[in-house]
């Protein structure tokens, strides 16, 4: 029983990391940018949920829709304002910009909402699901299911649609893609929109389970998801999911053994080991570069 509960705990935590890691991986895959602001988009999504439900008193469905929409628009806006002008600049410039955007969002939220945590009201009245004698947390089950569905949809989108083909083309070679008549800027914007929509969904699942929004909540979440994406092989969709689950399970196993203080250390140690043994991550492709 205890083992089963811990497995579910690991699945839930891992699924949230996976969902965030998917956003990282999408953006990295297409413009090789580590979008450090990704975790903070989730934070904004959580605050939107809080605003809509706790402040405006609107139903949870409206909060969900507005959170996802808000995150999507914010992601596209960040790309247009902060990243697009630097498309041809050195990679380091755009990376520093991403860190700047992250700080801007965190401190902006602190200014607007204050430093203390805001309690996001419950999305549903259902808190547990009875399944064959075991009572499972609704948030945990929802998180696992939604992440699984999101992964399948995302894979189909990238592999089977025209837009997905354009994304893969831009990711292979931006210049050649442009010559083939692909609208590169639109494709990149679309990628940001999809990645940020995932962040919006992540925000809802996160607040469903952990009920609080704070200005810096995206920081550690983003870092862990980044670790997950790199573990799995950044740029790879199955890699992000496997990486996320690995990080989630690693944390829960360490906690279950009573060593919860060492949880973060174990996660980062895992990253170091994988990077030594397999620098491109578990699902990463080794690309030879022609000089």
């Amino acid at each position: 029983m205890q083992v089963l509960m811990q497995v579910l705990n690991g699945l839930q935590l891992g699924s949230i990391y996976a969902l965030v890691a998917l956003g990282y991986t999408m953006v990295y895959g297409i413009i090789l940018l580590l979008n450090f602001a990704h975790g903070d988009i989730i934070m904004v999504g959580a605050y939107i949920s809080w605003l809509v439900m706790a402040q405006l008193g609107m139903p949870p469905v409206v909060a969900m829709i507005l959170s996802v929409l808000g995150c999507t628009l914010l992601g596209v806006l960040i790309d247009k304002v902060a990243y697009a002008p630097l498309r041809n600049a050195p990679r380091l410039s755009i990376l520093i910009t991403a860190i700047g955007v992250s700080y801007f969002l965190e401190n902006g939220a602190q200014l607007v909402f204050g430093a203390d945590a805001k309690v996001v009201p419950a999305f549903t009245d259902v808190s547990t699901i009875q399944l064959g004698g075991a009572s499972l947390s609704f948030a945990a089950v929802a998180t696992v299911v939604v992440t699984a569905v999101a992964t399948v949809v995302l894979t189909l989108l990238v592999q089977k649609t025209k837009l997905g083909k354009a994304m893969r083309a831009v990711s292979e070679d931006m210049g050649a893609a442009r010559l083939m008549g692909i609208n590169v800027n639109n494709t990149i914007s679309f990628t940001f929109a999809v990645g940020s929509a995932l962040a919006g969904i992540g925000a809802i699942l996160y607040t469903m389970a952990y009920t609080q929004a704070t200005p810096t909540m995206g920081m550690m979440l983003g870092t862990k998801a980044f670790v997950a994406a790199v573990l799995g092989g950044i740029g790879s969709i199955p890699g992000a999911v496997v990486g996320g689950l690995l990080v989630g399970f690693a944390e829960v196993i360490v906690t279950a053994l009573g060593l919860s203080v060492w949880k973060d250390a174990v996660v980062f140690l895992l990253l170091i080991i994988v990077l030594i043994v397999r620098p491109t991550g578990i699902f990463g492709r080794t690309m030879s570069e022609k000089v």
Binding site: Q2, M5, Q6, N107, A140, Y210, T216, G258, S260
Partner: protein, 400 residues
């Protein structure tokens, strides 16, 4: 009950730094001397008035100001009015020492402050050389009062809270307990360790001690462990934001037992938002110095005075600020009655001796000192009623 600088505060500190260094050194304008038999007594109030811990600093300062204002309205100390200067230290140890030095230059005879543990330790070390009488409303770490004889506190220490809760747990007849605390945090670990030691001495089995890291939001792994150990009560000596999440997640996981806590729980309900629902807060007990639901007459009077003055209800920190000011004023009274010259070494020592030897009836209980800077005072055990409102479960008297 305070952590030193956390990551969250660090982020805010960088924001403050980025916002500009232009504010350094304000407030030195009224530097005229008050020494030499004038009819006002100068005191300082030191605490964070801006930055991420400013809510505590402002609350303490408001309580202290209210006390001095009331004292002045009632004729002051020996016919002399008390004038106070509030210095902002922004929650930073270096700023705190600078602010302390400005107060000393300003000629204060005593200080109410500092508020959070980190900066208070810095001020305590700096103040020993001056033998400046200081009363901190709220810094609970043990070493604050150990540098010299000039530092006192109005609140009980972290270890003392741990012992109070352990005694309560023993009275309630709990046999098996577990704990979940914030690893690396002075306050949380201080309460936890003292609780475990005292509980074991009282014959309670501490089945498991679970830790978590700053910024953690998922406690399900620890809760599963605690439930597997079949504990009757869980000690959760953390800050209310975390306590709220832990209680909510534990109840969702099916834990119906008791939660025990320390004064970090203060604020879990009744503020802008409730951090746990009334349904989840059943069987939660925590020790604290102050609650607005205490129907003691002086407490209710304080609440109405405070609300009139500031337009909002007082918190634990407002009451501690008020009491710290009362303790300091008590010391100053003995120095004034002895007819000593303000600012002289004898005067300072007389204030210190006056505090050490006196007893004041504060809002947070009767406060006296038995040779150290730590108070001997009563504590409240609070719980929540069916609507999730705080209520007093019992009062733990001194020496129990």
């Amino acid at each position: 009950m305070f952590k030193s600088v956390s990551r969250r505060q660090f982020v805010q500190a960088s924001a403050v730094a980025a916002a500009g260094l232009g504010l350094v050194g304000c407030g030195g304008g009224n530097g005229s001397s008050s020494e030499g038999g004038s009819d006002t007594i100068k005191v300082g109030i030191l605490g964070p008035q801006s930055g991420s811990v400013s809510n505590y600093g402002i609350a303490c300062a408001n309580g202290a100001k209210l006390y001095f204002d009331q004292l002045n309205a009632n004729g002051g100390i020996n016919g002399k009015q008390v004038s106070y200067t509030v210095e902002d230290e922004k929650g930073d140890a270096t700023e705190a020492v600078n602010a302390y030095n400005m107060l000393v230059e300003d000629g204060v005879v005593g200080i109410v402050g500092d508020v959070t543990t980190g900066p208070t330790v810095a001020v305590a070390q700096a103040s020993v050389a001056d033998n400046m009488p200081c009363v901190t409303p709220s810094a609970t770490a043990a070493d604050v009062v150990t540098y010299g004889t000039n530092y006192f506190r109005a609140c009980v220490t972290d270890p003392e809270q741990g012992r109070i809760i352990a005694t309560f747990a023993s009275e309630q007849g709990y046999k098996t307990v577990g704990t979940i605390y914030l690893s690396g945090d002075d306050y949380s670990e201080g309460v936890n360790n003292a609780f475990v030691e005292e509980a074991q001495a009282l014959g309670i089995d501490v089945a498991t001690q679970e830790a978590y890291a700053d910024g953690d939001v998922s406690f399900s792994g620890q809760i599963t462990n605690l439930m597997a150990a079949n504990v009757e009560a869980i000690l959760c000596p953390n800050y209310y934001e975390d306590d709220g999440m832990i209680v909510t997640q534990a109840r969702a996981a099916g834990y119906d037992g008791v939660f025990l806590g320390a004064d970090g729980w203060s604020g879990i309900v009744g503020g802008d938002s409730d951090y746990a629902s009334a349904a989840d807060l059943h069987d939660c007990y925590y020790c604290c110095a102050f609650t607005s639901s205490n129907d003691d007459e002086s407490v209710q009077q304080f609440i109405s005075d405070y609300t009139d003055a500031y337009g909002e209800a007082p918190t634990n920190f407002c009451a501690l600020g008020y009491d710290a000011a009362m303790v300091l004023a008590n010391g100053i009274t003995s120095a004034e009655e002895a007819g000593l010259e303000a600012g002289s070494e004898d005067y300072k020592q007389a204030v210190i001796d006056g505090i050490a030897g006196g007893t004041v009836e504060g809002i947070t209980g009767s406060i006296s000192y038995d040779g150290t800077g730590d108070p001997v005072k009563s504590s409240l055990i609070l719980t929540f009623d069916a609507e999730g409102k705080e209520e007093v479960k019992e009062t733990i008297e001194v020496g129990e």
